[in-house]
């Protein structure tokens, strides 16, 4: 299965978001690059609202992620609770 990825700006908003992604996706690989963090994962990557909320200590709307998003790859499915990136093949 191919990799999906998501890249976020390196800043204080994304520090815990990245931590949450790593927690929820043990197969993900974090690549730190100048001013950005790229997270690769085989097949599928899930960003969960609840995990982020636990880490930042406040309620969170997953669409806020767009402010710090740089790029991503894969088919996307977003609901109030999860943002999923995946390949079908």
């Amino acid at each position: 299965m191919s990799n999906v990825f998501i890249a976020l700006q390196t800043n204080e908003d994304t520090r815990q978001i990245i931590e949450a992604i790593v927690q929820d996706n043990p197969h993900a690989v974090v690549n730190e690059q100048p001013a950005m963090v790229k997270i690769d994962a085989e097949g599928k990557l899930v960003v969960r609202r609840e995990t982020i909320e636990e880490l930042i200590g406040r309620s969170y709307d997953l669409q806020e992620l767009q402010v710090n998003l740089i790029t991503m790859s894969g088919n996307l499915d977003q609901t109030d609770d999860e943002m999923i990136l995946y390949w079908n093949a």
Partner: protein, 517 residues
């Protein structure tokens, strides 16, 4: 950022459905084909527009909320950067030439993208794609504006940027990105969406923005980094739209598959040719390099694009044939391009230079198959000649490819010692091409491409001199007249970086910034 998240009465899916379903109606006294006149002629068949879904499910109120947050962030960083004379913190003044390339080559395309998506959105009868196109159209004008604002600070101090839009519409090499987008917006709305939404945004834009912006960050250019990331934060949405558009069209009717395949093949190649500018920027223009062009191509196209096309295989779509050719070019593209700009530096709005010894080592390490064998010898020769006072400027005009408008400087696939030429006779004239792919694109739509505004032809026809110029007078210098027509000042905006006003000013100002005068 610490945003308040209000409890929503409806879930995301319902909110999006409320915004994009049931708002349109069936016209009673006008015909659908009169209201949406461009829907049929490209041959694409759509049976159910409601099958369209934006996977982000972004509603208009959320759009405004997040976009305004992005703008606030951007302009506060820009203010701080400008107030602290941030431009003096870039690695060295050669770096600024990437900014010149960006504002004259790329920012005007953002504006054209704005117009293109406004037009496409108007033409689609489905509310889902109309909303998505509206948002992207607004994003693109924001990109144009924020880039111009950010770069205007550099324009106060450095040369070559003062009339970037005038340059974009006239300068020979800027016709490469310009004609790319002109080609896209003069296509039908479906082709435009495949060209820009899918091939450019989804397949290629990572290669433009990620290395550019990451490179800016690495070279201390907080201004470019900030507008770049701000624009890029919209890009994820655009890429999603691009992928959605393809899946939607392909699912609607099997007859759409071959049409879409031809567009993907065409636009992947067209976009790749434009990225030549990015390739040379990454390998030659960034004083501190992030990754090589070849590495970026491997990560963002071969791995990521490979995954994408594997996913699309179930619709009957295959990876464009041109990617085999591109794989053969990846060891050569940036070196051939930089060599060309080094030659033609008398007719550009930015400076060029030869890499120093350390930089050549980096190039050898990144391109072990090609750099020492083919490119190092000629670059060392040029460097030695320049040191002896014979800096070479090529003042003759090159033959251009009728499709991509790049001079015929690329080599045969698989033979880096032989220039690649292709030609086609069409009606009364002969047309030249850089490659089989550009030739095929022309042959598919000759009546479109014979109309191309070719900079070299236009100069020879006398259309690129200031009004009132008499080219028949004794001692007429055509290059000087062309530079005037470009609104560029010979000896200040062009030529080698070594000895330029930018180099001198930067050294002096940086000196003032670090010690007491």
């Amino acid at each position: 950022m610490d945003m308040q998240v209000a409890k929503k009465k409806l879930g995301l899916k319902e909110r999006y459905a409320v915004m994009t379903r049931g708002l349109d109606w069936t016209p009673s006294y006008q015909k659908m084909e009169d209201i949406y006149p461009y829907m049929a002629y490209e041959g694409i068949k759509i049976h159910d527009w409601d099958k369209w879904e934006d996977p982000f499910r972004l509603t208009m109120d959320a759009y405004w909320k997040y976009q305004s947050e992005k703008e606030r962030k951007l302009y506060s960083v820009l203010d701080a950067y400008i107030q602290s004379n941030g431009h003096l913190n870039v690695t060295d003044a050669r770096y600024l030439n990437t900014v010149k390339l960006f504002v004259s080559g790329i920012s005007p395309l953002e504006y054209v993208a704005h117009r293109g998506f406004a037009h496409a959105g108007r033409q689609f009868p489905g509310p889902g794609p109309r909303v998505a196109c509206l948002m992207q159209s607004l994003d693109e004008i924001r990109h144009a504006q924020t880039q111009i604002h950010a770069v205007s600070n550099y324009n106060k101090y450095y040369n070559g940027m003062h009339d970037f839009h005038h340059a974009h519409d006239r300068v020979w090499f800027l016709s490469v990105p310009k004609s790319f987008f002109d080609d896209a917006i003069t296509a039908g709305p479906f082709e435009f969406m495949v060209a820009i939404g899918f091939s450019f945004e989804y397949v290629l834009t990572n290669l433009l923005f990620v290395p550019f912006v990451s490179g800016a960050a690495y070279n201390g250019d907080m201004g470019t980094m900030t507008f770049g990331f701000s624009a890029q934060s919209d890009e994820a949405r655009h890429m999603t739209l691009g992928l959605e558009v393809i899946k939607f069209i392909l699912q609607q009717d099997p007859a759409n598959v071959p049409i879409v395949q031809r567009w993907i093949d065409k636009w992947t190649w067209r976009g790749y040719r434009v990225l030549t500018l990015v390739a040379m920027m990454m390998d030659y223009m960034l004083p501190k390099r992030t990754m090589s062009w070849k590495e970026a191509w491997e990560v963002y196209f071969e791995q990521n694009g490979g995954a994408l096309f594997k996913d699309l295989a179930r619709y009957g779509i295959t990876i464009p044939k041109c990617t085999e050719h591109i794989a053969l070019e990846k060891d050569h593209l940036s070196h051939q391009a930089w060599g060309t700009f080094y030659n033609y530096a008398a007719a550009t709005n930015f400076h060029t230079w030869m890499p120093d010894a350390d930089e050549m080592e980096w190039l050898s390490a990144k391109y072990p198959e090609s750099y020492d064998k083919y490119y190092r010898p000629r670059m060392e020769f040029w460097r030695e000649e320049a040191a002896k006072g014979n800096r070479f400027y090529n003042k003759t005009l090159p033959m251009l490819c009728q499709t991509c408008q790049i001079p015929l400087v690329f080599t045969e696939p698989g033979d880096p010692t032989k220039i690649c030429y292709r030609e086609v006779d069409y009606k009364e004239d002969k047309y030249h091409f850089c490659s089989d792919h550009c030739k095929k694109i022309f042959e598919d739509e000759p009546e479109k491409y014979v109309q191309a505004w070719m900079p070299v032809h236009q100069i020879y026809q006398g259309n690129c001199f200031p009004e009132g110029t008499d080219p028949t007078v004794e001692g007429f210098d055509p290059l000087a007249a062309v530079m005037k027509y470009y609104h560029l000042e010979f000896g200040r905006d062009n030529l080698d970086f070594e000895g330029s006003e930018d180099q001198k000013n930067f050294a002096e100002w940086r000196g003032q910034a670090t010690k007491n005068a």
